[in-house]
Symmetry: C3
Subunit: 315 residues, 3 copies
């Protein structure tokens, strides 16, 4: 594997999930694989789970880790070709990516959507800029439109907890005071299309995700109907794709409550975190035994470790 | 030992001090104890000594270290139960603490007093929030009201330098242009009550520390009188506890000078640093042979290393 | 070697260059030299190459690394002797340097020129403050007036690429929208005076570097003339030394173009990076085969590793 930009870079999902679960049972089983190898983690945005779990994964493989908050610690980057760089940006991604490739064996990058210009975000200029110019493998730690480490984590978690071969999985939009990117939802939708699942998305009218991502996935605008008999309820807010980056509706009705969870087949509750309690989901659900958000966060380490292991094995 | 929140978590002070001094003589004696163990250092505030000495202590034990400046690098945290999180905070400490516990074996946290609301600071919501929800041991790297790594350091330093079994130790308030927390003073006062010392506190009227901490410790409002025959002069500014967080007096008379040091029994000068020269203490004192502030800072490593060693040995 | 403040700390340049090239061929050849040794990297300014390459160099030698952004993560420092510290600065460099010396075996510091007061910048108060008070070796990661790791890198790079014993090297000023320090140019000029090179500086009138640095080096105010038959074109902007810190001229004519490169002897193009494309130099030059800026950045690791190796071998 060269890069891990989206879940399209997973060649055989069931084998990957199986391998991740094996890593989880014995996290230090490949402690020498990363010996004298260095990963650079470049953050353009805040991060708790991704920051720590990716470091931990690298340490479990015996790698060296260099963490850099690009904004503030480094130079403001330019991504466009041919620009006369007489404005705010001091360095072009062409140099930054090539230079960092000299010091690291693997690169991992977080660069959120700005939610100002849809074409700009969906062009993935930061991740593609680094991928195009780096000479080492690049891992996506959440880009403008994708969060494939989270989606791999979710596949692992669902595989661990599912009681039937083809569980019913519901992705439900939920209210949130701020406009959030679509990356987590996009990658989860892509992942569910590759898993053996009865998958449905539910959200208010106007929050349709990009059709090139949702494809044939059924959308139910009636949340209660969608939740019926669900085995997994995956909750996430995102801002509008059509009216790009806008919070066109914030109806508190969409919050996940214990009452709604009763409509399900004793479903597990999932969320990528951070989660705003009593806005996105009630305390009673998050603190219930059916909530698996902490174990889900735990699996972030093993998803990252699997991806790193595959990269190291190939290089 | 589960957590190191305050010096109450020290079960046998003389043995701890002896053990810390042994570690200092041979810092790499337990280089494999922390093998494949990871400490997460979470900072909500600036730090020089604590940041570097705690890292160094972990490295001496062979641990992996992950450092995170929570403010800026992570998400703003909510600490209250039951809040509808539709305001500035993105994540609840319930999730943050549980999640970080998945990636680390030990957690260390720095979260200063805000000095706005006494009950809020003395409730220690940040440290207690993490301790209550983490599933791994938590170390206090200076909380709103306590700095137990500093106090352990001070006990080690006084033990090294004392010439009599029961030295006279004076904690003197000193002027400072900014309002500072009471954490260092509180933990030092608690520590001196556990050591064999003739201990007295001196400060202007109105700067009394919390009585539940000072208990029966004598307070002398006459600094020069208090300093007489002192073997150790420990200097620190703090803001008012009664008129909470206020600088109710900043009389430059309270600065420590060479003349005042002459009142002592050739006392050693101590300060936790950083120190404002010629405001808190004169250059002449800080640069004299009696100043042991640098060796005191050096002992921060061995205090942290002892605490970590005890945690690792128990886990 | 005690400190690496400027290239005056290089005792035998040709041997150093040879040794650096040997390290480059086998970067892990001294993997145990730094065992249980710790380097502290203190940054007062942004950094990409220096931050990562110096870490990488230390890792290649088996050292532990502690990185600290002093501004923000630590305390604001005072450098003047005898100050009554009742203003913004919380800690004196006297304490900071001595304290950090307790936790590290080697210190590396980046502290740019402020470009407000020439005497202040050229007094090098930050680096000299740390060097004077530290008890461990200090490495300059770009100070107010010098960048000796870059200059050593440049010597290595020129040695690798030169086709004649005494190549013609041109240092050309170039336009830039912001006022930049003279550190890179100063150290490069000092280095070229120690190498066997036909060296000339070209810049607009008024951009003369300090005469105590340029000494007898010829200055040609005609860029095109200077570039004739050059084997290496080293480009860098700096602000005025005379009219200190000012951008007294920003004539776009001085940008390096393909046409200008045709005047040279098929010269290699060098720049320390970051570089503003199409302001300092055209895309066509930077993306040409003659541009060696990426390999130059790569050599930062081996320059730093050589300096660290020499320090570790002596300690």
């Amino acid at each position: 594997m060269n890069n891990y930009f989206s879940i399209q870079d997973i060649d055989a999902l069931p084998i990957w999930v199986e391998e991740a679960i094996a890593i989880k049972k014995n996290p230090l089983s490949h402690k020498t694989l990363g010996k004298d190898k260095t990963i650079g983690l470049l953050f353009f945005n805040p991060s708790l789970r991704t920051r720590l779990s990716t470091q931990k994964a690298a340490l479990n493989l015996g790698m060296n880790v260099m963490v850099m908050n690009f904004t503030g610690e480094g130079w403001s980057l330019e991504y466009e070709d041919g620009t006369i760089m007489d404005q705010g940006n001091s360095e072009h991604v062409k140099e930054a990516a090539q230079v960092v490739s000299q010091y690291c064996d693997v690169l991992a990058i977080r660069a959120f959507a700005k939610l100002e210009d849809r074409d700009d975000d969906y062009s993935e200029k930061v991740l593609h800029g680094f991928i195009n110019h780096a000479s080492i493998p690049v891992i996506n730690m959440e880009s403008a439109t994708r969060h494939p480490l989270q989606a791999l984590t979710d596949a692992i978690t669902i595989s661990e907890y599912k009681k039937t071969d083809k569980p019913k999985v519901v992705l439900s939009w939920a209210p949130h005071p701020k406009a959030l990117p679509q990356a987590v939802a996009n990658s989860f939708v892509e992942m569910m299309q590759r898993m053996d699942a009865d998958f449905v998305i539910t959200h208010p009218v106007g929050f349709e995700l990009a059709s090139q991502i949702t494809k044939q996935v059924p959308i139910d605008y009636n949340q209660e109907n969608a939740l019926k008999d669900a085995d997994f309820v995956y909750v996430k807010n995102w801002s509008s794709y059509q009216d790009y980056g806008k919070v066109i509706d914030n109806d508190p009705f969409w919050k996940i409550t214990s009452e709604k969870m009763k409509l399900t087949n004793d479903a597990k509750f999932m969320h990528c975190l951070p989660v705003r309690r009593n806005v996105v989901v009630d305390d009673a659900v998050l603190d219930s035994k059916n909530s698996i958000v902490i174990e889900q966060a735990n699996n972030r380490t093993y998803a990252a470790q699997l991806v790193l292991k595959k990269i190291l094995e190939k290089s």
